[in-house]
């Protein structure tokens, strides 16, 4: 057994779970500053979660056991998915399962239970949110897989660590396929994490909400877990974007020095990406729900163009 490696894995996963509210809070802060509002303090998301964890749980009479176990499964799938994604070091014991298709599967598992929980209480909003979430997911997943296939063809592997390693060790090339894959992944990430212009995470407006509609019936500890899972998902997509496309600075070995550099690098990269996301959310208006399929069809086409340009232009 590779004991230091496993310690690093546990450390990395724990760090990510702790950092997820901070990242969401960072985006909120930048947004507030851009919109001339007083920003919430950095610790605000943690305070919210602590408050929710301390509150009692109110269960609707119509709910079944699924409603109660769903938060655990959703959060568990998110944490597991997060531990699979290479964050700071590449040479870890989990790299064997760090497969992109596994990752998509884990995300789908979490989403499936999220939608079930939304349906379980039998309220109108829950069902509406669940059906919208599944609509978005059914269109975003093919685009996501197309992005992954493009990267997999470039690196000849669907393993995330191998893909990143391939980018790090081969000479830097201007690849059209990777550029299109990046654009498509950003679009998929926006749709999947429910950010503007697909969904607005800051509002409970009946007509437009997707994610908020599903977790409307939750309270107390369950709600805190759902919120944390959503924040983790946001961080996960952000880490995927920065590490798959801008992996420079990641630790190739488990040496403490390179791990420290990698930590600093990932913090800097995420801070930049978070700022860009906040700027984008400030500049763009939310689109109508019925425009979302078009948005995702565009994402799919961009990913398809990426894959085709690899086959046509790069594979020779």
């Amino acid at each position: 057994m590779n004991a230091p490696g496993w310690i690093l894995v546990i450390l990395q996963t724990g760090l990510v779970v702790l950092a997820a509210p901070l990242y969401a809070g960072w985006i909120k802060r930048v947004k507030a500053l851009l919109q001339n509002r007083t920003p919430p303090p950095y610790l605000q998301p943690y305070r919210d979660l602590r408050k929710l964890f301390a509150k009692e749980i109110v269960l609707a009479e119509t709910t079944s056991a699924i409603f109660r176990i769903a938060p655990y499964i959703v959060l568990g799938a998110a944490v597991l998915a997060m531990s699979v994604v290479p964050l700071i070091a590449l040479d870890l014991p989990v790299t064997a399962v760090a497969d992109a298709v596994v990752l998509v599967g884990l995300l789908a598992l979490g989403r499936f239970f999220l939608a079930l929980a939304g349906l379980d209480a039998g309220t109108v909003f829950g069902g509406m949110g669940a059906s919208r979430e599944m609509m978005v997911a059914s269109l975003a997943e093919p685009a996501m897989l197309m992005v992954i296939f493009t990267l997999a063809m470039v690196a000849s592997s669907t393993n995330l660590s191998t893909v990143i390693m391939h980018t790090l060790i081969t000479p830097l090339a201007l690849r059209p396929s990777v550029i299109f894959a990046l654009i498509a992944l950003v679009m998929v990430a926006i749709a999947e994490t429910g950010r503007i212009p697909v969904d607005n995470p800051a509002t409970h407006l009946e007509l437009t909400m997707i994610h908020e509609a599903m977790i409307l019936e939750y309270s107390g500890r369950h709600l805190a877990m759902m919120e944390l899972a959503a924040q983790l998902k946001l961080l996960l997509y952000s880490v995927l974007i920065v590490n798959l496309f801008f992996p420079w600075g990641m630790a190739l070995t488990q040496a403490p020095a390179s791990v420290e550099i990698a930590m600093a690098a990932i913090f800097a990269k995420l801070a930049i990406l978070g700022t860009l996301l906040a700027i984008g959310e400030t500049a763009v208006a939310k689109m109508r729900v019925f425009r979302v399929p078009t948005f995702l069809a565009i994402a799919f086409t961009v990913a398809l163009v990426g894959m085709l340009s690899f086959i046509i232009l790069e594979a020779g």
Partner: protein, 226 residues
């Protein structure tokens, strides 16, 4: 075949721009607003001019640089300007024009690109330059423009589609044969310019005779011509 990552940077840039032209074609296909369509067409012209200039630098051909300049001035500046001006005069600048859902058309466009790639494969062997892989893309740009022609109803966007088709043909010429002789190039450029002007006159004629620029109105035969 050389490894892609060992190609010189300029050739990588050419291929990247070629992929971006394909993307701009698909974007044209999905875009429904008149003004945005014209703007996208202008950007496609810019991309085409840059790619022509890069090919010219890569093979050291001064004539190709001239045709790059010609492309920039004509397709990226003059024709879009003319179209925007006419659209403003006809008061249709903000109109939207889409008969089928853009998502569906995009997927059809994707299938068309795959089709073009499989058609072009046997021909590609004969083209010897670095840009030979872009032949499939240029054919795809032509086909996508044709798809755009048949999915649009407004005359202005159809003209844009027609001009984009010409872009595709020019792109094919640049990628397969490193550009046509300058005389031919100048002649074609002049033709396109004249065509743009004549189309402009036609817009007004069509609107005056049927009261709108919707081509679907033209399917009915009318004898009196009221």
């Amino acid at each position: 075949m050389q490894q892609y990552s060992q190609l010189p940077l300029i050739e990588q840039a050419i291929l990247t721009l070629a992929a971006m032209i394909l993307a701009s074609s698909l974007a044209l296909l999905a875009q429904s607003r008149v003004v945005a369509t014209i703007r996208l067409f202008a950007w496609q012209g810019v991309l085409l001019a840059v790619i022509t200039a890069l090919v010219a630098l890569d093979i050291g051909d001064a004539q190709l640089l001239i045709s790059a300049l010609l492309t920039l001035s004509l397709k990226a500046l003059f024709i879009p300007w003319l179209l925007v001006r006419q659209a403003r005069l006809l008061n249709i600048l903000k109109d939207s024009d889409a008969s089928i859902r853009p998502g569906l058309i995009l997927l059809m466009g994707g299938a068309l690109v795959v089709f073009c790639y499989s058609v072009v494969q046997p021909i590609e062997v004969f083209a010897a330059s670095v840009t030979r892989n872009a032949v499939a893309l240029s054919l795809a740009v032509v086909m996508l423009s044709m798809l755009m022609l048949i999915t649009r109803r407004k005359a202005v966007t159809q003209v844009v589609a027609f001009m984009a088709l010409e872009n595709g043909l020019f792109f094919a010429a640049v990628t397969t044969t490193q550009g046509m002789p300058l005389v031919v190039e100048l002649g074609v450029a002049f033709d396109v310019m004249v065509a743009a002007v004549i189309f402009g006159v036609f817009f007004f004629q069509i609107r005056d005779s049927i009261g709108s620029l919707d081509i679907d109105e033209l399917v009915r035969l009318s004898e009196s011509g009221e």
